[in-house]
């Protein structure tokens, strides 16, 4: 236990979460209407442990679909208070945790901090769950992540069958577990089993390499490659909204006469409206420019600006795209172009 590792019986997880609930709002995976989502739970036993991943990414716990920034009524402005309550997210997958590191580069940067996002990040402890069985659509290992990677996590739980190995990644994580009566000393067998499981899981993940993709894209802006790629794209926002790293938004006023509110909503570069100017000119007039933008942003511009690919290989866009426009195939095509 002194080395930041513990063991907890699977049957004790609910009790651990119940304890956390005394002082935190706890988000855990639950099944609602047939879909898995991260939602606040009322009791520890509501948490779903045997799941692959949530339909929607947990980015919305930090960057909601829609949030009111402030309200106004005849000159009086009411600011929505920043998050103060303490929260725990239990069961986040390493890919989604890594995406928060990427979102931090945008929303918590040296030159700009988004107060709404930062408050949420500061007040939330993240307990990760390693992926014993990655999906065939996962490709985290090719984009800087892994099924047992710890970027963005405060704690990592690994399912060993009837018990979990628990590893503290940060002091915050350690503090959550250190005094809890539900945790026991881990054994060498636990650690070894975890290593075995992690190695197997890592082997199971496969996807396109992003080596050289940035360099390829540097020279591809005017390439005819983009002419036909976008044709089947419907121009909806499924990929961008389910993506844990996509973060574009629109700020609008919803007002009637002198009263209303200013709202931040998710927005998508795949909508024509996203870049439509008031003059009527649209610098990205067709699906071709918008598809190019998406790929460039994720695999070239973000690398230039922040040194990382803006994709964590979670596979949501791959599974959910209504026309099976597969980003893995696009990356491969760019690489070999």
């Amino acid at each position: 236990m002194a080395n930041g590792k513990w063991q907890i019986a699977s049957l004790k997880i609910a009790a651990f979460l119940d304890d956390l609930l005394k002082a935190h709002r706890v988000f855990a995976p639950v099944k609602r209407d047939g879909l898995v989502s991260f939602e606040p739970i009322g009791r520890g036993d509501e948490a779903l442990l045997g799941f692959r991943n949530s339909k929607r990414s947990p980015k919305e716990i930090f960057f909601p679909c829609s949030e009111t920034l402030f309200a106004y009524q005849e000159g009086e402005i009411t600011v929505v208070p920043l998050l103060e309550e303490r929260r725990v997210i239990f069961g986040m997958r390493p890919c989604d945790a890594r995406s928060l590191i990427l979102l931090d580069k945008v929303f918590d940067a040296p030159d700009y901090q988004d107060p709404y996002y930062v408050a949420r990040r500061e007040n939330t402890v993240i307990i990760g769950l390693g992926c014993n069985r990655p999906l065939s659509t996962c490709f985290c290992t090719t984009v800087g992540g892994g099924p047992f990677a710890v970027d963005g996590l405060d704690l990592l739980f690994t399912d060993l069958g009837d018990r979990y190995l628990v590893e503290a990644i940060t002091e915050r994580g350690e503090a959550l577990v250190a005094d809890s009566p539900h945790f026991r000393e881990e054994t060498t067998a636990d650690v070894n089993l975890k290593a075995e499981i992690a190695a197997r899981a890592e082997q199971a993940v496969s996807g396109p390499s992003v080596e050289g993709v940035k360099e390829q894209l540097d020279g591809m802006y005017d390439d005819p490659f983009w002419d036909e790629l976008h044709e089947k794209c419907l121009g909806c926002a499924v990929c961008t909204y389910l993506c844990p790293t996509c973060h574009c938004f629109d700020i609008v006023d919803e007002a009637v006469n002198a009263q209303g509110r200013r709202v931040r909503n998710w927005d998508s570069c795949q909508f024509p409206l996203f870049t439509l100017h008031a003059s009527g000119h649209n610098p990205r007039p067709s699906g071709k420019e918008r598809m190019r933008q998406r790929m460039m942003h994720k695999f070239r511009y973000f690398v230039e600006n922040f040194g990382e690919v803006a994709c964590v290989g979670c596979g949501r866009c791959v599974r959910e795209c209504p026309v099976n426009l597969d980003i893995r195939a696009v990356i491969e095509a760019i690489r070999t172009s």
């Binding site: 209407d33 047939g34 879909l35 045997g50 799941f51 692959r52 339909k55 929607r56 909601p64 679909c65 829609s66 069985r133 999906l135 065939s136 659509t137 036909e228 044709e231 089947k232 419907l234 121009g235 909806c236 926002a237 499924v238 909204y241 389910l242 629109d250 609008v252 919803e254 709202v263 909503n265 998710w266 998508s268 909508f271 409206l273 791959v318 599974r319 959910e320 209504p322 026309v323 099976n324 426009l325 597969d326 893995r328 195939a329």
Partner: protein, 317 residues
């Protein structure tokens, strides 16, 4: 590869080679089991990519809005009816589209498969002789295709195109199952307003405003959708339930008398929202009130673009 696919490819090859069309829009193998993906073929040597099977779920008619020149399109029954609708509404000219009709046994509803698999990851799938075999890590399961077809397909009476230039294969025959296509709508109609509101409020609480439903729908081709208008701004774009429901109510309403239950909207929705409930209800109303079914004839006037002096009006005081 089936005989049907061979015929399909040959037809496409001929049409492209002889220059009567510049492009064939069809389906090709997808990157995941149980998926095909729309493909756009301009070179006659590429026609080998074309496939036709129970995973050909997308309604390709939606791509005709952006097409230029003369286009060939692989069309199952519902897709062909959508094309009829697009011609009637002057979105494409009849002479600019060559409809390659294919018989349809129904398309697979992947949400039904997911429900059966309950989290298990399918790595391979085979469909043959009315059976579907799913294989993954440590499991193999065989189901009747009929159990996992899209709801709309099960009761569809227009499985073959009502309009085509070429028809590949043998006609499909009547509905897959002889049951009332409006049963689900009637079940909802029998509930109280409170119960229905609770149902729809719950369904639409999942909506993320991705507009996949709108983009997948061949009827939704407005250059500026009402929900994107700012002058005036009709409804908010956030997650306020009132705005979300308003979007879906109005979108369904805008396709009244035009929607033919192809299911593209509900298949595109990542949140598995019961969108069909709304459009199917309107389809039933249009049929009962105005004896109209969309997409059957080129010489037709959409029901909201016309009237009869003795139209029903018991609802009017």
């Amino acid at each position: 590869m089936s005989e049907l696919e061979e015929l399909l490819r040959e037809t496409a090859r001929q049409l492209l080679a002889e220059g009567s069309i510049e492009l064939v829009i069809g389906y090709e193998r997808g990157t995941l089991p149980l998926r095909t993906t729309p493909c756009f073929i301009r070179d006659p040597d590429q026609v080998e990519r074309l496939v036709w099977n129970a995973s050909c779920e997308n309604n390709l008619a939606t791509y005709l809005h952006r097409a230029t020149g003369k286009v060939g399109i692989v069309a199952k029954g519902c897709d062909a009816r959508s094309i009829v609708g697009e011609i009637v509404e002057r979105q494409i000219a009849r002479e600019d589209v060559v409809i390659i009709g294919v018989p349809c046994q129904g398309v697979i509803d992947r949400t039904k498969i997911e429900a059966r698999l309950d989290g298990r990851d399918v790595l391979e799938a085979d469909v043959s002789e009315g059976l579907i075999t799913l294989r993954g890590e440590g499991f193999e399961e065989t189901l009747n295709l009929g159990e996992v077809l899209s709801e709309g397909c099960v009761t569809c009476h227009h499985r073959d195109p009502t309009l085509y230039d070429v028809f590949i294969g043998e006609p499909s025959g009547g509905a897959v199952e002889d049951r009332d296509e409006y049963a689900a709508v009637q079940a909802l109609e029998a509930q109280t307003a409170d119960e229905r509101w609770a149902y729809f409020a719950n369904e639409f609480s999942r909506c993320i405003r991705c507009y996949a439903c709108r983009e997948a729908c061949p009827c939704c081709y407005c250059a500026e959708c009402f929900v994107d208008q700012t002058q005036p701004c009709w409804f908010g774009k956030g997650d306020d339930l009132s705005d979300v429901m308003a979007f879906h109510i109005v979108r369904a309403y805008h396709v009244a008398g035009r929607c033919l239950d192809c299911g593209a909207c509900v298949r595109a929705c990542p949140m598995h929202i019961d969108l069909r409930a709304l459009v199917k209800k309107l389809e039933k109303d249009v049929r009962e009130l105005y004896s109209y079914e969309a997409g059957l004839h080129l010489e037709t006037v959409p029901p909201l673009a016309t009237f009869q002096p003795d139209d029903p009006q018991e609802f009017i005081k």
